[in-house]
Symmetry: C2
Subunit: 263 residues, 2 copies
């Protein structure tokens, strides 16, 4: 079983990725993002990201109901259905699903953020959380009948509310649940870069052990990405290919040694 994770950056070449998928001999599922598209739509709708300052001084994004609406429009609506359409055009019988559909991905809602309001401590909960269980029966029902699931957020919480979640956590949980042996991560870079400012510094091979060390090498959003990668190697045998999602034949090229392989 192979997992194809398509990033949501604006330079990602969806057509090229989908066209290349027909060359895969494995069974596969797709997990995709849409963050650039989400930001674009939010911007056009004049929706402003809400950021809360916690009592302990951390700032964090607050996913209110409207943020979920926009997630549904961009991830579950426009991006998901266009990917399914592209798949159908190359003969892949795709079905788009969020974690809410058939409770495909159940999660636990975040406990909330402590904030200070009028001098009083108050807990504010948004619609975000972490994926905990996969409805494997549904996935296998579809896969065994020849369908390719195309999965995206939102997921569903313990009280059946739609919540946002990190795609990296979803991929890690799917990998575990499906015992996937290969993950292709289509990103906006030629692979894992030794020097983030030098596109010619692609690291060809990274060992599982090395992933954890590399965490210290990076910061910001990339640090979270490395943490997510580390999680992928906690159990089972998995190869992760980090491929250039902006180029033609990105998956074939990755198999042939371009980009980064972690194993």
């Amino acid at each position: 079983m192979t997992i194809i994770k398509i990033g949501g950056g604006e330079q990602i070449n969806l057509e090229a990725i989908i066209e290349d998928l027909v060359n895969l001999e494995d069974e596969f599922i797709i997990v995709h993002g849409a963050n650039a598209l989400r930001d674009e739509i939010a911007n056009k709708l004049h929706y402003e990201k809400k950021v809360l300052l916690s009592a302990s001084g951390y700032s964090s994004v607050y996913s209110d109901s409207e943020a979920l609406d926009i997630m549904m429009m961009s991830y579950a609506g426009l991006r998901n259905k266009r990917i399914v359409e592209m798949c159908q055009q190359v003969g892949i019988n795709a079905i788009g699903l969020t974690g809410v559909d058939g409770k495909l991905i159940e999660g636990q809602r975040n406990k909330g953020i402590k904030i200070k309001e009028d001098g009083k401590l108050k807990i504010v909960r948004d619609f975000s959380g972490k994926p905990k269980t996969i409805n494997i029966a549904l996935l296998q029902l579809l896969i065994s009948n020849g369908y390719v699931p195309v999965i995206t957020v939102p997921i569903i919480d313990e009280n059946n509310f739609a919540i946002s979640s990190e795609n990296d956590d979803i991929v890690a949980l799917l990998k575990e649940s499906l015992d996937a042996d290969r993950i292709f991560q289509l990103i906006e870079a030629p692979g894992f870069l030794d020097d983030v400012n030098n596109p010619n510094s692609v690291v060809k091979v990274i060992s599982k052990e090395e992933v954890k060390q590399r965490e210290t090498q990076v910061d910001g959003r990339m640090k979270r990405k490395m943490k997510a990668l580390t999680k992928l190697f906690e159990s089972g045998k998995t190869s992760v290919y980090i491929c250039d999602g902006r180029k033609n034949n990105p998956i074939t090229n990755a198999i042939n040694g371009e980009g980064t392989i972690i194993q």
Copy 2:
């Protein structure tokens, strides 16, 4: 088998409808619209409906690629996922699907409109068409495993392009394919009105034969609705309930004699 058709008007009370669905003993599927939501989003995105004037003098809406994008955001994204979420909250294990997913609804793209440009006749094709076949195997796979399909546009054409389509035509095709014996139409009126301006003029019972006569009684959008109703009675035995989708317990009330029943 029962089909629940939920209109896309802005007064439709989705929560009330979904809550009432738990009282149904039959197997059912849901087909929903989102036209008011679509118009609202299109408006916010400053998208202007394109209208073409045909060479023979008719004006018609031109569904370009952007119109499909907005359909995906509103119907397939926001409305579909919120309905699925509401279903999950009352214990209905819903799965949202468009006609593109698993090629659930294949259609035939409209041939195009003849227009005159610079004195020359030209045919312009948009992304719209008519549903022709249902992937019954997929529907039955889901239903027999306890899932409730929640279906909306777009559908997929003969060349695997996403196209728009009338929900009434989709319901008629689903009714035929699933041999459904009951259809509940949740609309923004107390039932079929003898006098469209008098909400107290609900016609309690209409016979199949009468539906065709009633077509002459109405005009505009309602005429198309009546035509669609006529189609539902072309074969098989079906009862159509026209219920007030703005009220509490609209389906239970319809079964108990409120609204209009056509049989």
